[in-house]
Amino acid sequence: MRETRNKWFSIWRWAALAGLALLVLFLPIPVNATTPVERTFHIQASQFAYSPAVLSVNPGDRVTIELLATDVVHGLSIDGYNLETTADPGQAARLTFVADRQGSFRFRCTVTCGNMHPFMIGKLQVGRNDLLWRGALLAGLVLIAGIWGLRK
């Protein structure tokens, strides 16, 4: 009798955990409504860094990036946004877009600028990074699953 009860308890516990994991995965998280604004960033590109390297905007903002290469030719393309520009040394290049995709996106140099060119990377943060938070919560659930598994 007690064994059956424990078995059912265990099944319910794992089902609850799975349900929680599904919630973490698919529950829509409300976005803080903010009025879209115009934002302009002046980015200096030199071997092998962007300055500033991290740009934070809100979803819906109209973003202008003014890229200034200070040593050799550099480029900038943003993962997930299909945008690209190239700047000759001393000449600024502009890129304007609406930040309509939420999350964290890497931007990369598109012109071979030296040895570390493939790793010349910056980061565009558009609002809250749901993927990171969901991933962290799921990692916590994995740990809980591990702990439950440990209880004899």
Binding site: F48, Y50, T112, M116, F119, V142, L143, G146, G149, L150
Partner: protein, 475 residues
């Protein structure tokens, strides 16, 4: 005492895990012996298929060195950089290791010329061995030198990964070292004790679904010639194999066994891990921690937005690089081992376990294997996938001299993984964490201590590592 009796794995195996126990354990887990499959059997039995692949990899290796030395200095236009650090390095972590363990070692070209000289023959042995055939010094056994080699590569990684000349010299040095050591020491001393890639593949091979094992231990025990051991280039005795970390899957034991008593098994993932009497070697624990620390450091340097870190890692010899080097070494040799030891110590204290801390750390380090392997896979996805278009490009113009041999020199295509890759990375890190937690669970079930208390701090260590990797990958 003959050589077979000196093999420490055999001695330990006889003490720790008798043949009958080993056989019972193997029988209790599902395995498929590939050697029994008719069309695979001749491929394993004959030396020719393996030789042809190795001849091809040797030719590719020589060409890679030539391309590195004489080709373009621009990394993205040089075969050496793209094929070593994008194509091969990706294939190693995404296919060879997770699916085949040390399968790369079975076709690796680096030890070939040394081995040919050593055995005075290419396919078959040609009489008396050439060279001094000395025993490897006992105090240098284990994976200490492999960990050091990996750290050394890590210190210079920003240059090694991006400068074709340096890549060529590193490969040439490994080649020279392998040949030199095979002339001085017996068997594959370089592969077993020096090769940093061997250390990397070996430790994660324990999680892979492939193994070479004896079928019937009694047959082995009564076979006095031990031809498998006599013919193993790695100096291993198959009966004494406790895990797949050392076995290079060369198949020589299988070819030389007169009793057909060797199996090449497909087995469940992670069969070698989660057993308390396995992997209680501190050198393997350090190697596992170095792999974790290096995954963190490389992720920060190569895919992080911190230009100052990239510049410091690249400016070898500068004060900034010295600072970077100190940080890299401190992370790998102090922070990671310190934090893990603290976690194990806390678990020991909380559960009242009397196991010696050093042994407990070495034993619990098995938990880190899936965590590390999946962290490396996640890192590779973000590192290599966006640059896959270079592979097609350098196939047409391997030296960066403006050729267009296959018409793909100007290929701009690259897999658009920007939307998919972060999700994949998160999933991979979570699978690694889950697998590690299950190994911790398996280990805890084998002791008499309260499993939750013993393991909770170790799981917390794994969680913190996973969160750090998550932040570096998709943060």
């Amino acid at each position: 005492m003959n050589k077979v009796q000196e093999v420490f794995w055999k001695e330990e195996a006889s003490l720790v895990e008798g043949g009958a126990t080993l056989q019972k354990r193997l029988a209790s887990q599902k395995r498929i012996n590939l050697y029994l499959i008719l069309w695979i059997r001749p491929l394993l039995q004959s030396r020719w298929p393996q030789f042809l692949v190795r001849a091809l990899t040797l030719a590719g290796f020589v060409f890679t060195i030539a391309a590195g030395l004489f080709g373009s200095r621009v990394g993205s236009h040089n075969f050496a950089i793209i094929f070593v650090w994008i194509a091969w390095w990706t294939a190693l972590k995404l296919a060879f290791i997770p699916l085949g363990g040390r399968s790369w070692c079975s076709v690796c070209p680096i030890p070939l010329p040394g081995e040919w000289m050593q055995q005075r023959g290419i396919l078959e042995k040609g009489g008396q061995r050439f060279g001094l055939s000395l025993r490897w010094p006992k105090r240098l056994k284990g994976s200490w030198l492999q960990s050091s080699g990996f750290l050394l590569i890590g210190l210079f990684s920003a240059v090694t990964l991006t400068d074709a000349r340096v890549t060529a010299w590193v490969l040439l040095s490994l080649f020279g070292l392998a040949v030199g050591l095979s002339l001085v020491f017996e068997r594959r001393a370089f592969c077993s004790y020096i090769c940093p890639i061997g250390g990397f593949t070996g430790i994660y091979a324990k999680t892979a679904p492939v193994e070479v094992r004896v079928i019937d231990t009694v047959i082995c025990a009564t076979h006095s010639e031990k031809t498998c051991y006599q013919n193993c280039p790695w100096g291993l005795y198959p009966l004494a194999l406790r895990d797949s970390a050392q076995c290079g899957l060369c198949m020589e034991c299988l070819r030389s066994c007169p009793k057909d008593n060797i199996a090449v098994n497909v087995r469940p993932f992670g069969s070698d891990v989660g057993q308390p009497h396995h992997s209680s070697r501190p050198d393997e624990a350090i190697l596992a921690l170095v792999m974790l620390g290096s995954a963190l450091a490389f992720s920060a340097v190569f895919i992080g937005p911190w230009g100052i870190l990239k510049s410091a890692a690249f400016a070898i010899g500068s004060p900034a690089w010295l600072l970077y080097g100190l940080g890299f070494l401190a992370l790998n040799l102090l922070v990671m081992p310190g934090a893990f030891t603290l976690a194990v110590w806390a678990g020991q204290g909380w559960s009242g376990s009397k196991t010696q801390l050093r042994r407990a750390v070495a034993n619990q380090a098995q938990v880190l294997l899936p965590l590390g392997l999946f962290a490396w896979i996640a890192f590779t996805i973000s590192f290599a996938f966006p640059k896959m278009n270079y592979v097609l490009s350098v196939l047409s113009d391997p030296l960066g001299w403006g050729w267009n041999l296959l018409g793909t020199a100007n290929t701009a295509w690259s897999p658009d993984v920007s939307g998919f890759s972060p999700i994949l990375q998160v999933a991979i890190l979570l699978v690694g964490l889950f697998w590690s937690a299950s190994i911790a669970h398996r280990l805890a079930q084998t002791t008499n201590q309260p499993p939750l208390r013993q393991t909770l701090p170790i799981l917390a260590f794994c969680l913190v590592f996973s969160l750090a990797m998550l932040w570096l990958m998709v943060g």
